[in-house]
Every structure is written in C-alpha cells, then in structure tokens.
C-alpha cells in the first residue's frame, strides 16, 4: 500500500505504479484474447440465422403448447431407466473410485509411479464426457440401458476418485499416527485412522455425483444408450414438439426432485 509524494502532498494508491501497469497489461491481454476468439467464432456464424432466431423461437414455442400429456404413458419406463442408469452407474463408479483414490492420494499411495498411473486414470475418465463414453460403448456392447450404466460409471470414477483423494490428503495425520503407534498394520491404519475420517466426504461425494448423473443420463439416449434421451431424440427428429415439451418438463421435474433428495441426504449426513 504505497503512498506517493506529489506537489499536493502524499497520495495513497492501492498499487504501486509498476504493479498497476502490470494489472492493466494483464487485463489488456485478457480482453484481446476474448475479442480475438469472438472474431473467429463470428466469422463462422451465419448471422442471417441468428437474426431470424427470434421468430424461430416464437414459432417453436407456439408449436410446443399445449404439451401432449397423454405422452406421459410412454415416458414412465424411460424415466425409470434414466434413474436406474444414474443410480447403478454411480454405485459401480464408487466401487472402483475408492481403490483408485487411495492409490492416488499422496499419503496412502504405495509408490509414486502407481500414483502417477492412478492420476492418469482419473484425468482420462474425467476428461471424456459420458456421452462420448456412451458413443463408444454403444458400438461395443450394443445400444441399451447397460451401455448407459457403464458410460456413467466410467465418467464418474474419475470425478469421485479425484474428490475422494483430495479429502484423503486433507485428513488429520495425528489420528493416523496414534493408530500406527499401537502396532497396527497398514491395512488397519487405513481402516481405523483414515476411513472414519473420510466417511462424511465419501457420502457427500456419492450423493453429489448421483445428482449430476441424473442430469447426464437424461441425454445418453441421444446416442442410443437408454433413458429418456431416446424419446427426446425421436420426438425432435420427427418434429413432435408437443411431445418435446412434455419430455422437457419431465426432465425438469426429475432433476428438481433429485436435487431435493440429494440436498436432504447431504443435510442429514453433515
């Protein structure tokens, strides 16, 4: 917090001149990057369509009402499938995420090389969207709910393992030290010193990811991996807009309910 001497006496400024120049420079670069990206994107945009979007939207909206409520009869099964994809996928992911997390945490990994491999597994699983996993799985094991479950599991392993290993690294080491001092084996140190400490975050992570997975499993059907996305895809491509609006409302309701459930469960845990 420098004060600068001027003719009128000292003036307080938040930053020194050099620092404020640097700050401005960083902002300038940031703005330049954004403007540059915008230029490139707008180059590839057909502005005629964009100008037309308002009328298009109005047109689409008018076709979407009134929602075709009878269509609900067809939707119960896909909604059930969607929930199952999310739940079973999360469950399978957790089974694999736990060992990966222990291998990836700095304080529990048996060897730095193993840690590097575990981290690579985590980042690969995280980087690839569940839709892309589904795309590949549909090609291997065929379309259907099972491909969706596995896709969700593959995507969630990395996410859960990452959050879990971060919380393993943040445990209180003194509690583990105390268990070590009793002559416990390494497995017992994990079971008594570490597992109780990470249980709350484990539960939190599971519910959090389940909530996200409900959202993600609504679209897996677009590539044929089961769930309500199949109906969405079919309705959009046949321009059955009144069905589309029903599906969107159903997705909205499902997601809101899952969010409510996960908030309740998390509040009960913490």
């Amino acid at each position: 917090m420098p004060t600068i001497e001027t003719q009128d006496g000292p003036v307080w400024k938040r930053r020194t001149t050099a620092k404020s120049l640097l700050t401005w420079f960083c902002w300038l670069i940031g703005v330049a990057i954004v403007v540059y990206c915008w230029e490139l994107v707008s180059e590839r945009t057909i502005w005629f369509f964009v100008q037309d979007a308002g009328t298009q939207a109005a047109d689409m909206a008018s076709r979407m009402v009134p929602p075709k409520w009878d269509y609900m009869d067809v939707l119960w099964q896909p909604v059930w499938d969607t929930i199952n994809i999310a739940t079973l996928g999360t469950g399978i992911a957790l089974v694999f995420a736990v060992p990966v997390a222990f291998l990836a945490a700095r304080n529990t990994t048996p060897h730095p090389t193993i840690r590097a491999i575990a981290l690579l597994v985590i980042v690969s699983s995280r980087s690839i969207n569940s839709l892309i996993w589904a795309l590949m799985l549909v090609a291997i094991i065929g379309p259907g709910v099972f491909a969706g479950v596995i896709a969700i599991a593959l995507r969630s392993v990395g996410f859960c393992a990452k959050l879990l290993y971060e919380s393993i690294e943040e445990i209180d080491p003194r509690q583990v030290e105390a268990i070590t001092a009793t002559g416990a084996t390494r497995a017992q140190q994990l079971g008594y010193g570490i597992v109780p400490q990470i249980m709350p975050s484990f539960a939190g992570i599971s519910v959090f990811r389940w909530d996200i997975n409900i959202r993600e499993s609504t679209v897996l059907g677009l590539v044929g991996a089961g769930g309500i996305g199949i109906q969405l895809d079919a309705s959009i491509s046949t321009l059955a807009w009144t069905q589309v609006s029903v599906i969107l409302l159903v997705i909205l309701a499902t997601v809101l309910v899952s969010e409510w459930v996960s908030a309740k469960v998390r509040a009960a845990i913490i």
Binding site: R44, A53, V123, N129, I141, V145
Partner: protein
Amino acid sequence: MTDIQNQTEYPGKWKRPPLIKRGWLRWSLWIGAAIYLSLALGTMDINWGRVAEGLPRGQKFIAAFFPPDFTSRWESILDGILESIWMTVIATVAGIALSVPVGLGAARNLAPLPVYLICRSIVAISRTFPEIILAIFAVKLFGFGPFAGFLALSIATVGFFAKLLAEDIENMDPVQAEAIKSTGASWLQWINYAVQPQVMPRMIGLSMYRLDINFRESAVVGIVGGGGIGATLLTAFDRYEFDSAAAILIVIIVIVIGLEYLSGYLRRWVQ
C-alpha cells in the same frame, strides 16, 4: 475392587451403535434399497448375448484405437480443437459476466424477494438441462456452428456460476458487511468493499474450474452440430476411423491436464 470381581462384572460383548438409531427406519431403508436394486436390475433387460458377442468385438474395437493416428486427419483435428477453445473462452467469459448480476439477485441477503425468485428460477432452469439439450435448441434456433455451442455453454455457465456465487454471498461474514454498511456506503460501494473481497478468491478458482468444464463440454456440443471438436470426433466414429478418434481423445485429455495445471498455478498466485 479386586480383579476377580471385575472379571465377572464387565460385559465381554460390545456392538457399535448403529448409525440410524430407530430400528424400524434402519430396516425399512435396507429393505427399500434391496427392493429397488432387484427391481432396477430386473427391469434393466440386458441383452447378455449381445454383450458377450460385443466383447471380442470390443477387443478389436479397442485395438483399433492403437496406435492413435494424429497425422491423417490432423488438419480437421486442429481446426476442431481451436474452435472448441475459442468457444470455451468466450462462453466462459460471457457466462460469468451474465452470472454476476444473476448471482447477486439470487442471494437472499442482497436481493428483494421478487428479484430473488426470478433469478433463482433462471438458475434452476439453466442448471437442469444438460449442455447438450441446450445445444440442440441453440442449433435449431441459431443454425449450425460454434455460435450455437457458445450460447449453450454460456447458459450452462450462468446456471453453475450464479448458483455458487449466490451461495457464497449468502454464507459470507455478516459482521464485515455490516461494518461497511455502517460507514454510509452506497449499495454499489457496499458490494465492492464488503461482498467482493469475501467472495473473490473462491470465484477466481471456480471460473478456472468452469473453463475446464466448458472445454470438456465443448467436445460434445459438436455431436449435435454446435461446433468444436465434437463434430470431428463424431465423424471419426462414423467413418470407423478409431485411430483418429483416439488421437482426438488424447488431445482432449492433454488439454484438460494443461488446464488443471494452469488453474492450480493461478489459484496459488491469487491467494
């Protein structure tokens, strides 16, 4: 107190008290979970024949990924990746810029009730629909290309960022906020001096995280025509050029790792 007395006095059995104290609730949760699981697995209708048939094919499929082929489609890969990056950057910036007013409006301790309700519903709706559904509609309305993807990602960013911003503001330290208010500061000054310093560090970390998410999502909006690497990836799959697909996936992973390092570095620098 002799030892012999004690030996008979103390119980030799101990059980950990259950997590859920009410017995009926504990049992009904277990039974409910069992029923759900059996129903879910029962109705899942897995075509094991198809799976078994697929597995050897899966091996061939996975073998087709190796070695990844960066060269033969390099131009379109590079083009798609760059388009993804542009989209990601402007969608993140625009989304965050939009989510500041929405987030302020969705914080119960700042906004009057009607504003709060409007902002909360904006957040709820944009959070509910996955990026890909938003992208489908954006493509329908605005035509194919990165602009649609940009819009979809921006809207998703608003839902994500405004919610976290609002929660952060609601959890801020009210004492500091009061102290600034008591100096007679205007509303904007109050935001600038009391709220901003408290939420800023976490928001910078979160915006890096969102940049990371947006990049990963930009890889799928292309599947429905929203521009970016997704279109290239889908083409590679459709033409059975799995080695090119593998190259694309590796490029995505590398960029995500790079972003992670960058954000870790930035976060340390900010704090």
